[in-house]
């Protein structure tokens, strides 16, 4: 596709359930980021993939959060045993190379609501 695609666009889940969020980056982009944005707040870094290197997981808030990137392309963010404080918009971005001084292209995000 032309841009970063995320699915689903909206997800409502019950507290305690697991959820999976998907990101399709722009073809050929080696770097992929996941962020979380709570209402009225800036973006909070979660995890970063760059090529075949080990991911930078330093932003994951707890061990309930995990992410993988298969074949250097599609990425899935998994949240286990969801809590109400997990409610936020989860944004994925990709960029052509790994340096932070390159433009990142963002998807529309997945709005997660935990009830």
């Amino acid at each position: 596709g032309a841009g970063v695609s995320q699915s689903p666009s909206n997800k409502v889940t019950e507290k305690g359930k697991d959820v999976e969020l998907r990101c399709d980056p722009i073809s050929g982009h080696t770097a992929l980021y996941w962020y979380r944005q709570s209402l009225g707040q800036g973006l909070e870094f979660l995890i970063y993939f760059q090529g075949n290197s080990a991911p930078d997981k330093s932003g994951l808030p707890s061990d309930r959060f995990s992410a993988e990137r298969t074949g250097g392309s599609v990425s899935t963010l998994t949240i286990q045993r969801t809590q109400q404080e997990d409610s936020a918009v989860y944004l994925c971005a990709s960029s052509p190379q790994g340096g932070d001084n390159t433009e990142a292209f963002f998807g529309q995000g997945t709005r997660l609501t935990v009830v």
Partner: protein, 113 residues
Amino acid sequence: LAKTTQPISMDSYEGQEVNITCSHNNIATNDYITWYQQFPSQGPRFIIQGYKTKVTNEVASLFIPADRKSSTLSLPRVSLSDTAVYYCLVGGYNAGNNRKLIWGLGTSLAVNP
């Protein structure tokens, strides 16, 4: 990691030039300065990036003084569609050590008719 400070909100009118200044006193030698725009219910969108002096593209200009401790995003002749949140970020490529940008609250710009 460098942190930035920018006004929480600004108001303007259609057709005016808007300047949003960002402070980044602890900017590192290899840090670039990047501005993003975010509309409600959308992901951020890249506007402009620079290292020093002045950068101009089709939508904005970025002014960076010699000490690089601040930067100013200039939007010429804004329209209602420029109403958005604008984020100032600093970061740079550090070989072998992936760095993550720190996103603040941004500046919420309201353009009035």
